[in-house]
C-alpha cells in the first residue's frame, strides 16, 4: 500500500538525476550504494560475483537474502530471517509450513519493506536482483518500490519466458535481462551477462547528473483516450504555450496507474485529468483498472487538479461480457470498437452513482480542485448523432456529482462537447486559475 506522503522523489533533485543519497551535500558520493537481492541458497555464487564486480566498479552493496529453503551460499547483509520478520513471519515457521504461496507473500512483503526503508533513508542509488522463477516475483516488488530514475535491474530467465512479464515490469522504469543459462550454474556466459547487469547498474549509479536545463518547468500530467484526443491535444498546446511541460498518459488502466504513480512520487506539479473512464469502470464493476486510489492522490498531495468526465460514457467490454448481451437486448447503447472490444454505455442510474463516487473522491482533496463538465457530451461517441449519445445519462452524472461534492471543489458546466475547442479552453483556464490560487 503506497503511503500518501511524497516519496523521495526525482523532482526533489531538480532536473538532475537522483544520483546521490539525500543529504550527502553538493558533491556526489564517491561510493554509491546499491541493493543486491537474491535467493542466496540457490544463487549465492552469482550474487557473490555481482558484489565483487560492483565493488571493483566503485559501488558498495547491501545484500538482501530472499531464499528460504537452504543455507545461504553467500554473505548477506540482511538475512532471510530478517526479511521474513519484516514480512511478518518467522523464517523457521515458514520453512516448516511448506506453504510456498505464503512464503512467497511473506518474503515479497519483507523485501519490499526493507528496500522501502533503504529508499526513505536515501541509502540506495540502485538495485539489482538475480533470480529464478521464485525470486523474480519477490525481487520485482522490491525493485518497484524505488522511484523513477533509480536503476532497477532484474536478471531473470523469465525475461525470455512467455509468462506474465508485464507484472514484473510493473509501472516504473524496470530493466530486465535474460541470463540465457541458469544463473545458479556458473558459466563463462552467465558471468559475462551478470557483469553486463553490474556495468549498467554501476554506470547509472556512478554517472554524472543530467545537464541542467535551467529553471525547472512545472510538469503537468494529463490523461488521454482516442475519444478525448482533441481535447487533450488542445489543453496540452495551451499549457505548453503558458510555459508548462505536459506529460500525456494513455488512459488504458496501466497508463492511469503510471500517472497516479508519477504524481505519488512527487514528479508532477498539477493534473488535468481529461479522461477518467477507468475510474468509472472501476466504481461500477468493483475493480480498479486505474488503481485503487484513482482521483485521490493529487488531492492528497495538495497539487492543483482540474478534472473532466471524459470517457465516463464508455464501459470498455471484452467479447462475452454480460453488458454486451444487455446492449444487444436493447437495454444499453453500444458501439463495436473492434472484434475484441465493445464500448457499452452505462445507464442513467449507474452514471448517477459514478457522479456520487467521483464527487466523494475529489472532496477528499487538500489542494485546489475543479470539475469542468462538457454538457454536450463526454466523448467523441456521445455528441448528438454519436453511437453512445444519451443526454439524460450525462445529466444523471451531473446530478449525482453535484449532490455529493464538497463546496470547495469548483464546479463549472460548459455548454459544449468535450472535444470542442471552447471546452478545452475553459478547462485550461480553470486549471490555470487553480495554479494561481495555490501560489
Amino acid at each position: 500500500m503506497p503511503s500518501r506522503e511524497r516519496e523521495d522523489a526525482v523532482s526533489d533533485h531538480d532536473d538532475s538525476l537522483p544520483n546521490r543519497p539525500s543529504g550527502s551535500g553538493e558533491q556526489p558520493s564517491h561510493s554509491p550504494t546499491v541493493a543486491v537481492i537474491g535467493t542466496l541458497d540457490t544463487k549465492g555464487p552469482a550474487v557473490s560475483f555481482a558484489v565483487e564486480r560492483l565493488r571493483a566498479a566503485g559501488v558498495l552493496t547491501i545484500v538482501i537474502d530472499t531464499g528460504i529453503l537452504g543455507a545461504p551460499r553467500a554473505q548477506a547483509d540482511i538475512s532471510a530471517a530478517e526479511v521474513a520478520r519484516r514480512g511478518g513471519t518467522d523464517l523457521a515457521e515458514l520453512r516448516r509450513s511448506r506453504d510456498r504461496e505464503r512464503a512467497a507473500a511473506t518474503m515479497t512483503a519483507g523485501a519490499a519493506a526493507i528496500v522501502t526503508d533503504l529508499r526513505d533513508r536515501g541509502v540506495v542509488r540502485g538495485a539489482l536482483c538475480l533470480a529464478g522463477r521464485w525470486g523474480t516475483q519477490i525481487g520485482a516488488a522490491a525493485l518497484q518500490t524505488l522511484p523513477i530514475g533509480i536503476p532497477k535491474i532484474m536478471v531473470s530467465t523469465l525475461a525470455s519466458a512467455d509468462g506474465a512479464t508485464a507484472a514484473v515490469m510493473g509501472i516504473r522504469d524496470m530493466t530486465m535481462l535474460n541470463p540465457i543459462t541458469s544463473i545458479g550454474i556458473e558459466t563463462e556466459l552467465s558471468r559475462r551477462i551478470i557483469a553486463n547487469a553490474v556495468g549498467a547498474l554501476a554506470g547509472i549509479a556512478t554517472g554524472p547528473g543530467l545537464p541542467s536545463g535551467g529553471d525547472r518547468t512545472s510538469r503537468i500530467a494529463q490523461t488521454m483516450f482516442g475519444v478525448t484526443t482533441r481535447c487533450a491535444t488542445r489543453v496540452r498546446e495551451r499549457l505548453e504555450a503558458s510555459g508548462f511541460e505536459v506529460l500525456t498518459f494513455a488512459a488504458t488502466g496501466i497508463g492511469d496507474q503510471a500517472m497516479e504513480d508519477m504524481v505519488q512520487q512527487g514528479f508532477i506539479d498539477g493534473v488535468v485529468d481529461v479522461t477518467i473512464s477507468q475510474a468509472g469502470i472501476g466504481f461500477l464493476r468493483g475493480t480498479a483498472p486505474g488503481g485503487s486510489q484513482r482521483l485521490e492522490i493529487a488531492g492528497a498531495l495538495g497539487i492543483p487538479q482540474a478534472v473532466a468526465p471524459g470517457g465516463l460514457d464508455i464501459i470498455v467490454c471484452q467479447a462475452g461480457d454480460p453488458l454486451i448481451a444487455e446492449a444487444e437486448q436493447g437495454r444499453r447503447l453500444m458501439h463495436k470498437h473492434s472484434p475484441a472490444l465493445t464500448d457499452v454505455r452505462p445507464t442513467a442510474e449507474e452514471s448517477w452513482r459514478v457522479g456520487r463516487e467521483i464527487a466523494r473522491r475529489l472532496s477528499t482533496a487538500r489542494g485546489p480542485t475543479a470539475m469542468v463538465i462538457p454538457l454536450r457530451g463526454f466523448s467523441e461517441y456521445s455528441v448528438p448523432g454519436g453511437p453512445l449519445y444519451d443526454a439524460e445519462c450525462d445529466m444523471a452524472f451531473v446530478a449525482g456529482f453535484r449532490k455529493y461534492v464538497a463546496p470547495f471543489v469548483r464546479l463549472r458546466e460548459i455548454d459544449a462537447a468535450i472535444n470542442d475547442r471552447e471546452f478545452a479552453d475553459e478547462l485550461t483556464a480553470t486549471f490555470l486559475e487553480l495554479t494561481r490560487s495555490q501560489a
Partner: protein, 184 residues
C-alpha cells in the same frame, strides 16, 4: 578492436525519434563514447545525418528505401529493415567498429531494432528501451532467447520531456557502464 571499444551502435527510426536519438548520441559523447547511428526509419527523413542511412539498411536486405516506400507493404518493409539492420550491426561488430548497441523504440521501432540487437553474440551489451516492454508479454517478444536488456520507459518516448530525458540519460549511462566495466 581498440577503436571500437567505446563505440556504440544507436539503432532507431530517426524519422519519428530523431530528437531523442540526437540527445542519446550527445550523452554518449559526454560520457566518453562514440555513437555509430544506424537509421531504420522508413517513412520520413532524419533530422540529422546518421552514420548508416536508412537506404543503406534497406540495401543490406536486398531492396531500397524507395522500393519500400513505394511498395505499400508495411510488414514487408519492417521485415526488410529488420534483416538489413541486423546484417549491418553484426558487420560493425565483427569489424571491431562497435562493442555494444542501444535503441529506443515504440512498437515498430522495437520490432526492427530488437532484431538488430539480437544479431549480436551473447554477452555483448545490448539495450532496448521500449514502450511495449511493460505491455503483456512484450519483454519476451523482444528478448526471444537472447540477452537483450529491456527497459520500460513508463510513457511513450515522444519529445524530450523531463521523464524522457531521465530515461534516455540512464540508457546512455547503462550502455557506457556496460562497456566500461566489462573487462576490469
Amino acid at each position: 578492436m581498440t577503436e571500437g571499444i567505446r563505440s556504440i551502435a544507436l539503432v532507431g527510426t530517426l524519422d519519428t525519434k530523431g530528437n531523442e536519438f540526437a540527445f542519446l548520441k550527445e550523452l554518449i559523447k559526454e560520457l566518453g563514447g562514440r555513437a555509430v547511428v544506424v537509421d531504420t526509419g522508413i517513412i520520413g527523413d532524419p533530422p540529422f545525418t546518421p552514420d548508416v542511412c536508412a537506404d543503406d539498411v534497406a540495401r543490406a536486405a536486398g531492396t531500397s528505401l524507395t522500393q519500400l516506400r513505394a511498395g505499400g507493404d508495411k510488414a514487408g518493409a519492417i521485415g526488410a529493415m529488420q534483416t538489413g539492420s541486423a546484417a549491418i550491426v553484426r558487420r560493425l561488430y565483427d569489424e571491431g567498429q562497435i562493442s555494444a548497441a542501444v535503441s529506443l523504440g515504440g512498437g515498430q521501432g522495437t520490432l526492427i531494432a530488437s532484431a538488430a540487437l539480437r544479431a549480436l553474440p551473447p554477452g555483448v551489451p545490448k539495450l532496448m528501451v521500449s514502450t511495449v516492454a511493460a505491455v503483456g508479454t512484450g519483454v519476451s517478444h523482444i528478448v526471444g532467447d537472447s540477452d537483450v536488456m529491456v527497459t520500460s520507459p513508463v510513457v511513450d518516448i515522444s519529445g524530450l520531456n523531463s521523464l524522457a530525458r531521465i530515461i534516455i540519460a540512464n540508457a546512455a549511462r547503462a550502455i557506457m557502464g556496460m562497456v566500461t566495466f566489462a573487462d576490469s
